[in-house]
């Protein structure tokens, strides 16, 4: 068995046995949901339904119900799209990249992070759809054989690359997530007493029996999918950034965008994981599995990616001046000092200053501070996209067309609605799905569990054998 250095902090606190792990994860699913869950679900559902209502009004009336104009053709719609896609990135990074790098601390968070990814990509995918003038013809972006003549999609368009990138990303993430869920569903199935639940979980578990052969294949598939998903982590947001980078609009036409967008995505994604995880661990009693060390690790990722993002901002500023391009230079002067200076200032404060605070160990191990910063970062990252999209468009080449963007209440409704829908999905996930990869956690219990780690083998070997037989 893999033996971990004694000085490494344990990843599972307390005297957890294998059975305890199963119990801890399955209990919320099997018990009645707490009142708080209903309250939160109710709020999320109402907000989500309001968003759905706004979307229906939008589809029935026209894109004009948003605050867009002839100069600013994209604003909150694509801002939200990029924001949600970015949030999704942490899940894939945790499940794929950290798997390949054998970062065991990921096991505590990968399940819910992946769930977050999928729900975030749902929300993200919604925006390119509803932002279309004619959604009902949206399938024309797919290269479908057709009888319209020689009509075919335009492979030059980054928007088309987006279609492929997002759909690939969503399908790979979904498969990856689901494969990981199968053994855990089997565990729940085996414990389920109510017939309906048993039936449901046995369907979901795909007949998993836990045989060695199945575990062997499971590991292999996980690795293969991790291999597939890893390039996606970098490709998806690179391609999203191409929407802007390949254009001719000053402030968009920037070669730094792909790495900068990927870093920003990971940055915001980890922040969202923090937000969700800090609440979830408390609410579901998972403090033993997701503890300060995990939070600290994630904060370090936030700090590193935040610094990359900050460097990118400053590089952009430098290049805009150094290039000597009049429009480029003005675009950045305008961002910082123009009518949208407040958006730029929010972005700079939230994304450049706040992650630097993580250099202090005291701060990065403080859960309250982490929670606050995680929200600050996501606000900052929303503003980053808003700044890139709106402040570049609103004052581009011809001053005659310069304009301002004011969101309508439908803009706000749709955005807030997607947050509601996201939480509807996430709460359902927390209620009915195993929020920790319990079978994966068990594999590190002996190497990284507090009660096993650095203790005499006899004592723990005994109890481990005991627990191994249970499920």
């Amino acid at each position: 068995m893999h033996k971990e250095a004694a000085i490494r902090e344990p990843l599972i606190l307390g005297h957890k046995s294998f059975h305890d792990v199963t119990e801890d994860v399955c209990r919320p699913i099997e018990d009645k949901a707490p009142k708080m869950w209903y309250v939160l679900f109710g709020i999320a559902a109402i907000i989500g339904l309001y968003g759905v209502g706004c979307i229906l009004y939008l589809l029935g009336t026209g894109v004009g119900v948003w605050g867009l104009n002839k100069t600013i053709g994209w604003a909150w719609d694509i801002t939200n799209f990029v924001w949600w896609v970015g949030i999704g990135h942490a899940g894939t990074l945790i499940s794929a990249v950290l798997l390949l790098f054998r970062q065991k601390w990921r096991m505590a968070i990968n399940r819910s992070a992946e769930a977050m990814t999928i729900f975030a990509v749902f929300m993200a995918g919604l925006f390119p759809l509803i932002h279309m003038g004619r959604l009902w013809l949206g399938y024309w972006v797919l290269p479908l054989p057709n009888q319209f003549g020689s009509l075919w999609v335009n492979f030059n368009s980054p928007l088309l690359w987006d279609v492929f990138a997002i759909s690939t990303y969503l399908s790979v993430s979904l498969v990856f997530w689901y494969i990981g869920l199968i053994p855990d569903f089997a565990t729940i199935r085996d414990r389920a007493k109510k017939p309906v639940a048993k039936k449901m979980y046995s369907i979901l578990a795909f007949g998993w029996s836990g045989r060695a052969k199945q575990w062997n294949r499971f590991e292999l598939v996980s690795l293969v999918l991790a291999g597939l998903a890893t390039p996606l982590v970098f490709s998806v947001h690179s391609i999203v950034s191409f929407d802007f980078a390949t254009s001719v609009i000053p402030g968009w036409h920037t070669t730094i965008f792909p790495p900068y967008f990927v870093a920003g995505a990971v940055f915001s994604g980890f922040a969202m994981v923090q937000t969700l995880m800090l609440v979830m661990r408390k609410a579901m009693g998972l403090e033993a599995y997701i503890h300060t060390k995990h939070v600290e690790y994630m904060n370090i990722v936030i700090m590193v990616t935040g610094s990359i993002v900050g460097t990118a901002y400053i590089t952009e500023l430098f290049i805009s001046w150094y290039s000597g391009v009049e429009y480029e230079a003005y675009a950045f002067i305008n961002r910082a000092t123009g009518p949208y200076w407040w958006a730029y200032a929010s972005m700079m404060t939230c994304n450049v200053v706040s992650p630097q605070l993580m250099w202090f160990k005291k701060l990065r191990t403080s859960l309250v501070f982490t929670f606050i910063i995680s929200i600050v970062v996501n606000i900052g990252m929303w503003f980053e996209r808003y700044v890139i999209i709106v402040t570049s468009l609103h004052r581009d080449y011809l001053p005659s067309s310069w304009s301002m963007h004011y969101p309508s209440h439908i803009d706000i409704g749709v955005y807030v609605g997607t947050i509601g829908l996201f939480f509807v999905f996430f709460l359902l996930f927390a209620r009915f799905f195993p929020v920790l990869a319990l079978n994966e956690i068990k594999t590190i219990l002996k190497s990284s569990g507090e009660s096993y780690k650095n203790a005499p083998d006899t004592h723990h070997g005994h109890s481990a054998n005991e627990n191994n037989n249970e499920h």
Binding site: V63, G73, W140, V153, S400
Partner: protein, 1092 residues
């Protein structure tokens, strides 16, 4: 020949097998009686069971449902007998003439399937040389106005012509019997034949030379009586002479907006433009002294800011410096204005005998000074032609004033007729006049709508729309013209002249196809035209030719000498307007003019050429004066401060709009707004609408007019109307949202958008000094960095449009464009561009395919688009327009880039490049991602945010939502649906038509075959369209000119549109300092780079 061969269709037939015989014999089923059929027992064993039945039912329901989804099929009904001159799908063009009392032009009307759908200027015939204005082009929409009266009315009740005729004839008899007085109030009548009809009216009233009981008052909303009065005093005859701007080397206009409203702009603009060619022998120098920033002022070389009352001061100042001082008239001017006046004097001295001074004031005393100045300068019979009198604007202000006072004081005549006038709207005491009218027993209006005056009349006898009627015109002494109908009258209307003749007893009603007035015109043209010439022997040929051209032959006139009566100068000072700390000037906008077409949504949505505001009038004030008191910036969410102006106890409340160039101490208000204030049914688009559709209502539940009526301020001064007055202004609570299409006013020192230079630089320096080419560095074969032109750099392969087939291109001369907006309305008319209303415009969503960007200079710029000092240039200061800025108008539409950024980003390839260089938009394929619009550096793409042809928000404004209004739509251009992108197509339908025409004639396409609506409409010929691959085409030559450049060339999108540098005839040392010829690379390469 015997049939020996046997033909068979198959071996079965040949062999006559039993199966074949059976099937042959039973090929057609035998008749079976119903009884037999029903008695067949096997029917009962039919295999249709319950499940089958449900399947069939399900299928039928589904099929019916699916079938119901199909759009209803509307079948086109072909002509049984093809009408003459109407070929479905082919336009027919008719020459005609437009005259509405304020504007005059020779026009050509395009009709499709019998419907007039487009008006453009007649370039071949007439005094206007193809020039029109937005109002003339937009007037075609007025024909299809559903608010027009559909038949005559008596006390607002619809009735029949026979009933009306009977009543009115009886009324005439009554008046005649008691020797009563009849007054006809009309706008200036320039139709010789109409005078015949009016004579019949006089006879009906029993008027005789001895006992004149019939009075005809000619009254214009905008009066020019001052000119006639001044000429009466100085030359002994009340007339308006003809002006020739093409001969004037120095033009000094003191408050006359001669490119937009003053007298005859449609004649003056082409004349003016002809002398503004920097490549010509000479280029005129234009000085403008004015209060409001007008279209004319925005095009002037030098512009002085004066108060309305200072027009006399400027004239006296110039007279003094030209050596003919006028006693008693103040020459006091601001430093700024006197500086410009000094330059003007210098220029006038240098061009004596070839200069022209005009003034906008309607005060006769001011016009006397103008006459004196022109006498001193020797302009008569060089630039001013007293022999060729302009017949427009008879403006009998004194008679009108007496008449109005009579009516108001109850001493009114026994009968009043209103023809082409709306005095209740455009008199300052219109409301009282309207009330008083009701007390007069017999009142008749010929208005097409139940307008402000007509609702107060007993009878309204609606006249035809101008496009439905015959007419003839004599706008000036040397010139005659004809107007011919282009459609059978849509409603039960009757030509006003016919009504006059019927009531006068000299004709009877002719119905819809009436020839009553036509016969009068034809007879007059026979008598005074045909019989006075010898070239054409046959009357039918003569008349056919005249109608075809709609213009008579030019009458040659001998020049008449004028002698100035020096006595006219005495005692002038008392008659001059008094100066005041705050003065208001009333002006006409390019769109609405005097308000006759206030119900025309195209014109309401036409951005004002200077302020770019739509759907409103406002108080213009210099932002320098507004600072600290009023908001000087605004956007779609934040409006402008409201204020009340008071003149002579009458107040109107309007927002205060920051207008650079407005003279400090003055404000301006546009006429023509505030129509329908008492709910008169003047048209659907004449009232304010709400954010989600429907009309806005005030607290009393009444519809709210658009803007406020500034005619309330028009006073009378020495017997003539006065369009300026001392005023007071008071700031009001609250803000007012304004809808402008441009909210940023300067070009921010950007050099590759607009370019301008001075005539001196242009003449003496190399192209690189004022129109530098963009170069980039590249490595030559020896590895050295060399500068190479932009055209050598390509990111990817160019579209194969060079040297193959056609490549449609356009050049736009910024030196010619005056910013009038005619192109915009022509484009709207040609391409079915939707009207979106004020709320959408303020949200930045106007749909115009062509816009005219207007840039003011800032204090940071030596000329628009140049930085005075590169090191101290401040973006903040560059955003603020100068107090008295220079102006450039820049038409901007799709540039049809050969490396179009919109084309690469469309995921579904809905926008593509044609092999003729056009950037095409396939509406059917568009899914509306708007990526193309974002990626357009020129921001010319327009998105259909809503379903404009059906969404309720646009019901009251978009003509396409009105059954009658829809008739104006051009059938060659599709109506775009919601969610698709649209933009300028270079009028691809006209290009195709031009190509077809050439193909039919089996010849290559040549210049003139292909044009766009905007180029066609431009009164200044600023826009040229053609085939760039044709090396000899005008557009190719024009694009190769040394003034030509491409906007944003350095972006590398390779547009097919070229702009030509504006050349001002001014002395601009700062600009001359910047525009230096580049020196050779070896001894100062940085000089070259300085332009990049």
């Amino acid at each position: 020949m015997g049939m020996t061969r046997k033909y068979w269709k198959g071996l079965d037939e040949l062999k006559e097998t039993p199966e074949f015989l059976k099937s042959r014999d039973e090929e057609f089923p035998k008749e079976m009686s119903v009884e037999d059929f029903l008695s067949d027992d096997s029917l009962a064993e039919s295999s249709t069971d319950r499940r089958d039945f449900l399947k069939f039912l399900g299928f039928s329901v589904a099929a019916a449902t699916v079938a119901a989804c199909e759009a209803p099929v509307v079948k086109a009904i072909p002509y049984v007998n093809k009408p003459e001159n109407v070929t479905p799908g082919m336009p027919t063009w008719y020459a005609s003439t437009y005259y509405d009392g304020n504007s005059y032009a020779s026009i050509v009307v395009k009709t499709r399937e019998g419907r007039p759908i487009f008006i453009k200027g007649n370039k071949d015939h007439g005094i206007t040389k193809g020039a029109t204005n937005p109002q003339i082009i937009a007037s075609v929409l007025g024909l299809y106005d559903s608010a027009r009266l559909t038949s005559p009315t008596k006390r607002s009740e619809l009735t029949t012509w026979s009933a009306v005729d009977k009543d009115i004839k009886a009324a005439f008899a009554q008046v005649k019997a008691k020797n009563g007085k009849v007054v006809l109030v009309s706008n200036s009548i320039i139709s010789p034949s109409t005078y015949d009809a009016i004579a019949a009216l006089g006879a009906a009233s029993g008027s005789t030379p001895e006992n004149e009981t019939f009075q005809h008052i000619q009254y214009d909303a905008q009066s020019y009586a001052g000119i006639r009065k001044a000429n009466m005093e100085t030359f002994g005859e009340a007339f308006i002479p003809d002006y020739d701007f093409s001969k004037a080397k120095t033009i000094v206009s003191v408050g006359a907006d001669f490119m937009n409203s003053w007298l005859l702009p449609t004649q003056f603009v082409p004349q003016y433009i002809s002398s503004r060619n920097p490549d010509g022998e000479w280029m005129s120098k234009h000085f403008q002294f004015e209060t409001n920033m007008s279209i004319t002022g925005s095009n002037a070389d030098e512009r002085g800011m004066i108060k309305p009352s200072q027009q006399a001061n400027v004239l006296a100042y110039m007279l003094k410096n030209l050596g003919s001082p006028v006693n008693g008239v103040s020459t006091e001017l601001s430093t700024q204005a006197s500086k410009v006046a000094d330059m003007a004097v210098k220029s006038l001295k240098a061009s004596k005998g070839a200069s022209l001074v005009i003034a906008g004031s309607n005060n006769a005393a001011v016009q006397i000074l103008v006459n004196k100045l022109n006498m001193v300068l020797g302009s008569y019979n060089t630039c001013i032609h007293p022999a060729n009198k302009i017949n427009m604007f008879q403006s009998q202000d004194d008679k009108m004033n007496t008449f109005v006072n009579d009516v108001v004081s109850g001493k009114g005549p026994d009968m009043v007729l209103f023809y082409g006038v709306n005095p209740v709207y455009n008199l300052s005491n219109g409301k009282e006049f309207g009330e008083a009218l009701k007390k007069i027993k017999n009142t008749i209006s010929f208005a097409g709508h139940a307008d402000e005056t007509a609702v107060n009349c007993e009878f309204v006898c609606p006249d035809h729309h101008a496009l439905e009627a015959w007419n003839d015109f004599n706008p000036k002494k040397s010139h005659y013209a004809i107007a011919q109908p282009t459609i059978r009258p849509l409603y039960n209307t009757a030509q006003a002249q016919e009504s006059m003749m019927v009531w006068g007893g000299v004709a009877s009603r002719g119905g819809k196809d009436s020839k009553v007035f036509y016969d009068v015109i034809a007879k007059n043209w026979d008598t005074y035209g045909f019989q006075t010439q010898a070239e054409i022997a046959d009357l039918a040929t003569y008349w056919g030719l005249k109608v075809h051209n709609s213009v008579g032959e030019e009458v040659s006139l001998e020049p008449v000498a004028v002698t100035f009566n020096a006595a006219a100068l005495s005692g002038l000072s008392e008659k001059l307007p008094k100066t005041s700390t705050l003065e208001v000037e009333m002006y006409q906008k390019a769109g609405l003019g005097v308000g006759d077409q206030a119900n025309n949504p195209w014109l309401q949505e036409l951005p004002d050429p200077i302020t770019k505001v739509t759907w409103d009038n406002y108080i213009t004030m210099n932002p320098v004066e507004m600072a600290g008191k009023y908001a000087t910036t605004f956007d779609q969410e934040h409006g402008l401060n409201l204020a009340t102006i008071t003149v002579n106890g009458k107040s109107i409340k309007l927002p205060v709009y920051p207008t650079p160039g407005q003279t400090p101490g003055t404000v301006g208000v546009a006429l023509g707004y505030g129509r329908g204030a008492n709910q008169e049914k003047i048209g659907r688009a004449a009232f304010q609408t709400k954010e989600y559709g429907g009309y806005a209502e005030d607290e009393n539940g009444k519809l709210m007019p658009i803007g406020a009526n500034a005619f309330a301020f028009v006073g009378s001064e020495n017997g003539t109307m006065s369009y300026s007055a001392p005023a007071s202004i008071k700031q009001e609570e609250g803000m007012y949202i304004i809808a402008a299409t441009q909210i940023h006013h300067t070009v921010m020192g950007r050099h590759s958008i607009v370019r301008e230079t001075t005539l001196e630089t242009y003449k003496n320096k190399d192209k690189e000094a004022y129109n530098p080419s963009y170069t980039l560095q590249k490595l030559d074969e020896n590895g050295h960095h060399v500068e190479a032109p932009m055209s050598e750099f390509d990111l990817w392969d160019a579209h194969p449009v060079e040297k193959i087939g056609h490549r449609w291109a356009m050049t736009i001369d910024l030196n010619s464009c005056i910013g009038c907006g005619s192109c915009l309305i022509a484009c709207q008319s040609e391409n079915n561009v939707p009207v979106v209303g004020k709320d959408e415009v303020r949200r930045g969503r106007e749909m115009h395919w062509i816009r005219i960007d207007r840039y003011f200079s800032s204090d940071e710029e030596a000329a628009i688009g140049t930085r005075k000092d590169k090191d101290t240039f401040s973006f903040d200061k560059a955003e603020i327009a100068a107090e008295n800025p220079k102006v450039i108008h820049m038409p901007m539409m799709c540039q049809h880039c050969n490396h179009a950024p919109c084309e690469t980003v469309c995921p579904v390839a809905a926008t593509t490049h044609s092999n003729e260089g056009l950037n095409q938009m396939t509406y059917n394929r568009c899914i509306g991602t708007r990526y193309c619009a974002n990626n357009c550096p020129y921001k010319v793409r327009r998105f259909n945010w809503f379903n404009y042809p059906s969404y309720k928000k646009f019901t009251d404004i978009n003509p396409a939502q009105d059954d009658i209004g829809r008739m104006v739509l051009n059938p060659d251009v599709t109506i775009r649906t919601r969610g698709v992108m649209e933009k300028c197509s270079f009028c691809v339908q006209k290009i195709q038509a031009g190509k077809l025409e050439a193909k039919k004639e089996d010849r290559p396409v040549k210049d003139g075959d292909v044009t766009t609506a905007c180029a066609d409409a431009c009164p200044a010929n600023a826009i040229i369209v053609g085939d760039w691959n044709d090396l000899k085409s005008i557009v190719r030559t024009s694009s190769d000119d040394k003034r030509s450049y491409q906007a944003l060339e350095e972006v590398g999108v390779k547009p097919n549109v070229w702009y030509k540098t504006k050349v001002r005839n001014e002395d601009n040392k700062e600009l001359a300092h910047l525009q230096v010829e580049p020196v050779a690379h070896s001894n100062g390469g940085h000089e070259v780079k300085a332009h990049h």
